[in-house]
Symmetry: C2
């Protein structure tokens, strides 16, 4: 690690942002550390590097595994568990996206679904109408985010690079259907 200061400040930043990204400070720090470290690290090394307790590292690693962001490995002749970031940044981003959908959208979607099923006479009620709108929006976002999941990094990248061009593409497509 050439510039220790940069690494350290990046890790601390990820700790501070952690809660905004859906996990806590320690989890953010551990994740950052594993992402910018090439070697595999064991729990003691992580605790040492971040000055946090062994128990906290254990919980953090469990959380990161539940997010499918890190991988456990073993070194021959070493009984310790070693950890490393799971894959490319692209794939990690996709995973985070998917996990967040599960945590932030799906519960609400299922609540709304059941409410709306129980109330077929929704037309009349303003509140239920709004809930229907929210439901439809979330469903669309969920479908769409699902379709991102399957995409290869390259596809995703070229799609994103279109940026605002995507609007133009839409118009283009409309004028020349398949």
């Amino acid at each position: 690690m050439a510039n220790h200061h940069d690494a350290q400040s990046f890790i601390m930043h990820c700790g501070e942002m952690g809660s905004r990204w859906g996990f806590n400070r320690t989890v953010g720090q551990i994740c950052a550390l594993l992402v910018i470290t090439q070697d595999m690290l064991n729990a003691d090394q992580i605790a040492e590097a971040l000055s946090i307790s062994r128990g906290n590292v254990s919980m953090g690693l469990k959380e990161l595994q539940s997010w499918r962001l890190i991988q456990m490995r073993h070194k021959p002749g070493d009984r310790k568990d070693y950890f490393t970031a799971n894959s490319s940044i692209w794939e990690m981003a996709q995973t985070i996206f998917e996990e967040r959908r599960k945590r932030e959208l799906d519960p609400t979607l299922s609540l709304l679904r059941s409410h709306l099923l129980d109330n077929p006479e929704s037309q009349s009620d303003y509140g239920l109408q709004r809930m229907q709108e929210i439901h439809d929006l979330l469903e669309l976002v969920a479908t769409w985010s699902n379709s991102l999941n399957g995409m290869k990094p390259e596809t995703l990248e070229s799609l994103m690079k279109l940026g605002s061009g995507v609007t133009k593409m839409l118009d283009f497509k409309k004028k020349q259907p398949r």
Copy 2:
């Protein structure tokens, strides 16, 4: 409000989800209440409806205004401030999206930008390389999310309805450049 139970359970749900969506319980509840209520409400009515203190309502309303999700209005001959959700569900979703980008992406993007500028010799360092990758990804996501901002609800909707079809469209575009 035809079915009081549905409304209440939706509001409570939004309170519980609040923290996952980037605000706290009360803010989630106030937002939900204003979204499914057709009439404008004043702070006392909100406090009453949610059984929370007047002070808490005041802070929650301020927060929601900073998210640009609600609007303050006045009734003739009434000195109280009245509040209502700002716009359509579509537009609210766009706003939330944009605000979250500002809070969850922009700070990291700017940290990374400055680190990478300070270290032109990044090639050699694994950590800096990874930071570069994260930077590029975030920049792409930010650009792309910016392009969503300007879109009309209809455009956004038709884009989303494409769902996974977006991949096919990409291929199509490649084969027939402009």
